[in-house]
């Protein structure tokens, strides 16, 4: 197969979106396997060389199959200096931040150290990735803000990491994934919510995860396309668990961000939850109000993958239910299902709603002046 790219990467930039935007889901990558070593104690460097990583789930490091494109990324996102897509700040600036006038970019590193059975190693890797985010990204470009990655299966260690980073302006949220050892509302994860609430940081729940559970609730699917739609099912059970275990009731100032799992399903999940809660509320007396109320008050949604129904009115119906003040624009750069900012929102949206969608909601939620 003969693939030719243009000689100059600058030529590959896209039309500039004039108004400033926020991009609430950017995936920075490591250029080399050992890039985190400077942030890891010698003890853990040796451990990795001798024992590697023992995860809850197989094939955590490499994808179980090629995900539609190399590294599940845009084919034009390889940095000119080499390395995987998303590993070069200067190329990210040229390809994403500058041409799209991104004023706030939220980093969500994946494959970091979450979902590892050795909880001490997990904590060390997460802490390393947090240092690395400051060193390589946020200190070099003030538009970028990091997510605190935590060893999610050890709630106490995770809370300690959050408390250590609290108040550091490089970080704007805590990052969890949707597939864990148990559904996200369960008590082992509560210390995370408590620490995040104390720190005033939203908790982002990004699709994926390495808890060892199958990618869909009905088992391992045959096709990648099934995994893609499985993310929203997984996110729905995570959100139902958060509501029904009483997490929102217990932590009323907690803000959750559902990242990269769509949002079109939000109203129907809330309607179903409300209906069954009316009949079965005595099973969960901790849940004092209809589930939809917690969801509308305490949950935000990143847009990518942006819903794309044939009739734009259908999209507006969903957004009107969720609230125009609850959506956070995201591209998912450099991943292949990237949403182009100038092309995702259909015509017919008021200026105020456009501004909220593209920038204002994110600035408000993440406390960016």
């Amino acid at each position: 197969m003969n693939i030719q790219f243009r000689e100059s990467p600058e030529a590959a930039s896209h039309p500039t979106t004039k108004t400033a935007i926020a991009d609430c889901d950017i995936h920075p990558a490591r250029a080399t396997r050992t890039e985190l070593y400077p942030y890891l104690a010698k003890r853990w460097q040796h451990h990795l060389e001798v024992y590697g990583v023992h995860a809850y789930q197989g094939m955590m490091e490499g994808p179980p199959y090629p995900k539609a494109q190399p590294n599940a990324s845009r084919r034009d996102a390889y940095p000119p200096e080499g390395g995987p897509q998303g590993s070069s700040l200067s190329f990210m600036q040229k390809q994403l931040l500058d041409p799209n006038n991104v004023q706030l970019g939220v980093l969500n590193p994946l494959n970091t150290g979450q979902g590892i059975r050795n909880h001490d190693l997990s904590a060390a890797l997460c802490s390393a990735i947090n240092d690395w985010q400051i060193d390589k990204w946020t200190s070099k470009d003030k538009r970028l803000k990091a997510s605190i990655v935590v060893g999610n299966e050890d709630g106490l260690a995770a809370a300690a990491e959050i408390r250590e980073r609290a108040g550091d302006k490089n970080f704007v949220q805590v990052l969890l994934l949707s597939r864990n050892v148990e559904p996200l509302g369960q008590r082992r994860y509560w210390p995370i919510y408590q620490a995040a609430e104390e720190a005033g940081l939203p908790v982002g729940v990004h699709a994926f995860g390495f808890g060892g559970n199958p990618i869909t609730p009905s088992g391992w699917p045959s096709y990648y396309i099934e995994e893609m739609v499985g993310h929203s099912q997984c996110q729905q059970s995570a959100l139902a668990s958060l509501v029904l275990e009483g997490v929102f009731e217990r932590f009323p100032k907690l803000k959750m961000v559902m990242i990269e799992a769509g949002f079109g399903w939000a109203p129907s999940l809330a309607w179903r939850l409300d209906k069954v809660w009316q009949r079965l509320r005595s099973e969960v007396p901790d849940v004092k109000r209809p589930p939809s109320e917690y969801i509308r008050e305490q949950v935000w949604w990143t847009t990518q993958p942006m819903e794309d129904p044939e009739r734009r009115e259908d999209l507006f119906d969903v957004i009107n239910w969720i609230g125009w003040d609850r959506l956070l624009f995201a591209t998912d750069y450099p991943h292949w299902d990237y949403d182009e900012p100038s092309r995702v929102l259909p015509a017919g949206v008021s200026e105020a709603n456009r501004a909220a969608f593209y920038l204002d909601n994110a600035k408000k939620l993440y406390g960016i002046a």
């Binding site: 197969m1 003969n2 693939i3 030719q4 790219f5 243009r6 590959a12 896209h14 039309p15 539609a68 494109q69 845009r74 084919r75 034009d76 292949w336 299902d337 990237y338 949403d339 182009e340 100038s342 092309r343 995702v344």
Partner: protein
């Protein structure tokens, strides 16, 4: 319809493509097994530089369980979301009713006719002895 000389034939062997901008439009010209095709280098979906994607074939199924893989090297897959288009026609395979990329006819002309005109040479020095790939738009 203006005709543009884009390369001497031996600079565009089978399986290769050339990117250029003509009249402000991003264009790519492909040599597929000795035939030439021009396409707008902008994806009608979200605007990626479509022609920088890989050339693949077309997977189709006439009956469940029977899969045919044809048109090898004739389908371009967008580097962003992977939508597939037929290089020969610009036809989309995921939604042919709503989407198509603009296709521009391309072919070979002998140097003698190119020099006579009515051709515009795009960064190509034209000599009478060679043959040239020409695109129309």
């Amino acid at each position: 319809m203006a005709r543009h000389v884009i390369a001497p034939v031996d600079e565009l062997p089978p399986g290769t493509r050339k990117f250029l901008e003509i009249e402000g439009r991003p264009i790519a010209v492909f040599n597929i097994k000795g035939e030439y095709f021009g396409l707008m280098n902008r994806c009608p979906h979200q605007g990626a530089a479509l022609c920088e994607g890989p050339l693949i074939g077309l997977a189709q199924s006439s009956n469940p369980g029977e899969i045919e893989y044809t048109k090898l090297g004739e389908i371009i897959r967008c580097p962003w979301h992977g939508w597939e288009f037929d290089i020969r026609t610009g036809q989309s395979y995921c939604d042919p009713r709503r989407f198509r990329v603009k296709a521009y006819p391309a072919h070979v002309e002998p140097g003698a006719s190119v020099v006579k005109g009515p051709y515009v040479a795009e960064t190509v020095t034209v000599k009478v002895e060679s043959d040239y790939v020409v695109v129309e738009l």
